[in-house]
Subunit: 604 residues, 2 copies
């Protein structure tokens, strides 16, 4: 028997008992003829004591121990004279009668402590050692707890867990598929699923009514900072539902998880924010609503019908403002389709250096603004701006009225193409949120973003792409527009956003074979292409498909949100690096000729 | 709103309520100005009634319905005059006020009923329709229930669910890996895991203590009748345990599942049967213990030291029997290494035809016996055998004493090489079990098979192969024999067998880097090969690996056992056929040139 107790459970009430513990040597200290060893396992740390006087033999043995040795120790639980109130086991120690080394350990390449001294590469290579550290253990236990909680909740709601296949047909649309050469069907390939989308829809056609699965998905993308080639989704689908039914069920799941795992409660329903409003007020389809700082529009010109007469191109109600701008002769404004700004409250005192840094920030290639215009509304009533040459105090005061700037505030303005400028303002807003500490880690603001565009036009390939995927239903009232102006059609789709992170997204699906066919046409598929890729789904729709819809949550991201992390890497046990490599296993790796030959493929 | 209730929940107590149901048309009947429609969903069937007199408009609409149409109906719950006690909803019907066709359906290619008229191929192609049938729905819901139950139990036992990667390093040993070409690391490949074996061991090295996962595994094998290229394991590992600890935990899991899902209870601990005894008494390493009919050994000769003098080669205690055989001059016996038989109780009346069929059975290539010897011990005391020429009544009576045959019994004897003959007797025993109805579908007899050989010699490649896998620990007392005679070493391994089905298997693992190195030597790996394939694991063992062990259960098989099925195919939502194809998706399929080029591979 390796242990009677874990290293986390002994208390003062156990004093006098003889116990056996097993674990890892966390730390050793010598002090006046005594050796103290902190013994660690998943459950905690318990102090072992070796006494030179009373047990010289075991004392000697203890001196042979080193960090991360695996040992079994038997002894008597005793009250500590020097209690440690920071540890649950801090009231006791074990007076060791016998100790046995179960496995020795070489000195680890970095310290196994709360904050390790190991670099990223080293810790990835020795992932099994890094995972001994308490933060990683907490993350993975949090992940475990969340997974159980999700399934338990959905089970009670009547969802059935169904395992969908991992080796499926390659039907790439959007990201690239990972593929698997077939030995038994040479020259042919399976694909790994980017999501079980079509299978879960088929399950609805099959009458399973409510489906759920926590499932691995795969995308062969060039990896950005926080992407993994394999990632995990909480994948769900429901039949005989409308959008509101789905939002209610998954708002319930969200509240349940927050309550059960973080002990955080929400009052009332989550805000529903139309996509267009999210973009125009926050410059993002996943706004962080922990703070306000809404984007204020100064002017928008209609891009669709460019005209020489600015009066004609104004959005209703903006006439007075635009008139004022148009009279200035400031080229950055006069040539812009859109001008907007945000108010950084109380930042009128920002220094030249701080403003330069903000200008550098918005000019970064990934943000791409040409420059930043600022207006300081000083406490003494004076106004100082970077465009004093072009605008007088009255004009600037007019901007304060439009944007709601108060004395002491800083107005930051960007101008340019509408979509791009809004996104840049969104990034600037987040940057100011960070600088002003408006993103409280312990505050959570969930919302639904709804009414997305159904399709996006891609200039390069000169075709529409589905904003979510080709099975998303248009809003019923917009269906007639599919023939006329697909870009104006809204999707019956929704994203769950928390603190600026897209936690999940889904839609009501098309369940009508005719409408699905029309959608494939809009996306520019020929009948043959549609049939080859999605024939089995369209066929299924002919035999009685119920109205249905669903949602998928990014589980890695949700766990990292709950763990208070910015990256998903440390909520995954064995992640891959930015080159898609597992540096611990040294994978991917070469195959021998025999394997390639059997598969009927060659390296080119 | 699509429904106020499901098709399974309305009872007499709902009479008078106005309800809305949605579902599929299961069946329609016309009877005296009334149309009766059985409306089906996952939860049950409810009868809708349309009355020509009281609601002619809706009556007309109902006549347009067809099988598998998806409809929404609103009406009043009413007591049936003609109740159906076989349905939970059989006391009521819905008097329909309005019905709406949500989706029409073409006539399905086979009937969606308890027993379909569709052939296997057709049902696989239209899997989404086959899955509407009640037996499939029951299977998948059983699977769901079992998965929740397994995780819930293991969670309470302190197991942590950890997701291990799906794209790993290719280290084939035994079966072939499926591989995934890497686009970002051209010329290199990931593999899909045959099991998460090494990862779960690393999790023990990392101190996670108790790990569990219900996880997809992959083997690129030539598919036998009941294999799938992707299958599901309940995968578990524990640290600081000995064999007995593991057996207790998973006996607990097994009992929990039986109790919770099937309401079956077991008394006491499961039998532990050494592998050698399982082979010699049942001719199988997964004996079906629902019935006895143990194999009785008549003689074994020592094959290791072949000798001309039969007396010398006898196993102790068998001298008298062998002496008798050896005096007969019956070549099939005299030339055999092993002679054994089973008693078919009460089968002395078997006809010539029945015996011929049994002879054909044992001569089938997959069983491979040369012939069958029978002895009928008739009720009247006479004895009739197929070897009357060689053995007199006294000799045959001697066999009855050895085997325990009673008047009325039939003794069936096979002779030949020991291992092969035992396996053939095992098959014959199962066949007799079937013929005599000894395999009660409602009886479950679980047991642990233990003390497997560690390695098996393969003549063809002239090397040892691990019987389980290369990480299985030898029994401590057998370790010295690793150097002398590896074939004699027993593994610290165990299989859970229920009703002749291997439900799971596992072992205590090697946790010592030196012993693991020795094991790789026994298996004929060079240091370089071992380092290339398993280097990261051996490296991990240097930094403090705890003693550990685990088990993996074949989840598909376990569900099919509980479902009372002989095949795993219908407990999997979207299975592949014997050629590894998904005939519904028509996958695997060709890739276009562009995809291949990006991956840097060619079809040869």
């Amino acid at each position: 028997m390796y242990r009677t107790n874990t290293c986390g459970e002994l208390r003062l009430s156990h004093a006098g008992q003889t116990v056996t513990l097993s674990g890892w040597v966390q730390k050793m200290r010598e002090f006046g003829g005594m050796t103290f060893v902190d013994l660690r396992d998943r459950y905690g740390i318990t102090q072992l004591v070796f006494n030179m006087e009373t047990n010289p033999e075991q004392f000697k043995l203890a001196q042979k121990l080193g960090r991360e040795f695996v040992v079994r120790a038997t002894g008597i639980v005793a009250e500590r004279s020097n209690k440690n109130p920071n540890m649950p086991t801090g009231d006791i120690e074990i007076h060791v009668d016998s100790i046995e080394i179960l496995n020795a350990a070489e000195t680890p390449p970095f310290t196994i402590e709360e904050n390790s001294d190991g670099g990223d590469e080293l810790r990835m290579k020795y992932r099994y050692l890094d995972m001994r550290r308490a933060p990683l253990q907490r993350n993975l236990m949090l992940r475990h707890r969340m997974a159980q909680s999700v399934r338990h909740y959905l089970d009670l709601q009547g969802f059935i867990e169904v395992e969908t296949p991992v080796m499926i047909k390659s039907t790439p649309e959007g990201a690239r598929d990972f593929v698997v050469p077939s030995r038994m069907n040479q020259g042919q390939f399976y694909a790994l699923p980017q999501s079980p989308q079509m299978f879960k829809q088929l399950l609805m056609v099959s009458g399973y009514d409510r489906y759920m699965q926590i499932v691995k998905c795969f995308r062969d993308e060039d990896l950005r900072a926080d992407r993994q080639p394999e990632f995990t989704q909480i994948d769900c689908e429901m039949a005989f539902v409308e959008q509101q039914d789905i939002l209610e069920v998954f708002e319930g799941l969200t509240k349940h998880l927050f309550n059960e795992v973080l002990q955080v409660q929400f009052e009332g329903s989550f805000l529903k924010l139309p996509w267009e409003q999210a973009m125009s007020e926050y410059g993002s389809d996943k706004p962080d609503l922990r703070f306000g700082m809404k984007i204020k529009e100064l002017v928008t010109r209609d891009t669709k019908h460019v005209t020489r007469n600015p009066e004609e191109s104004l959005l209703p109600g903006h006439a007075s403002r635009v008139t004022r701008f148009d009279s200035t002769g400031f080229p950055a404004f006069d040539e812009s389709e859109y001008i907007g700004g945000i108010i950084a409250a109380g930042c009128a005192e920002y220094t030249r250096k701080q403003l330069d840094e903000l200008t550098d920030f918005v000019k970064k290639p990934q943000i791409g603004a040409k420059g930043l215009i600022y207006v300081k509304f000083n406490m003494d009533g004076t106004i100082k701006s970077s465009v004093d040459k072009f605008f007088d105090a009255a004009a600037l005061q007019g901007w304060a009225e439009v944007t709601g700037a108060k004395p002491g505030d800083l107005l930051l303005i960007l101008a340019g193409k509408r979509d791009k400028t809004l996104k840049a303002l969104g990034e600037l807003r987040l940057e100011m949120g960070r600088q002003l500490n408006l993103m409280d880690k312990n505050k959570y603001v969930p919302l639904w973003v709804v009414d997305f565009p159904l399709v996006e036009w891609d200039e390069e390939t000169a075709r529409f792409y589905a904003m979510h995927h080709p099975f998303t239903a248009p809003k019923p009232e917009d269906i007639p527009m599919l023939d006329i102006d697909p870009g104006q059609v809204h999707a019956n789709a929704y994203d769950l956003v928390i603190n600026g992170i897209e936690i999940g997204g889904g839609s009501i699906r098309i369940h009508d074979a005719g409408l699905q066919k029309k959608m494939f046409e809009v996306l520019g598929f020929t009948d043959e292409q549609a049939e080859y890729r999605f024939g089995f789904l369209m066929n299924a729709f002919k035999y009685g498909a119920p109205p249905h819809g669903g949602i998928a949550f990014g589980f890695d991201r949700w766990v990292s949100l709950f763990a208070g992390l910015n990256s998903i890497r440390d909520v995954i046990a064995f992640p891959k690096n930015n080159q898609g490599r597992d540096v611990m296993q040294d994978s991917p790796s070469n195959l021998d000729e025999e394997q390639l030959k059997e598969l009927g493929i060659k390296i080119s």
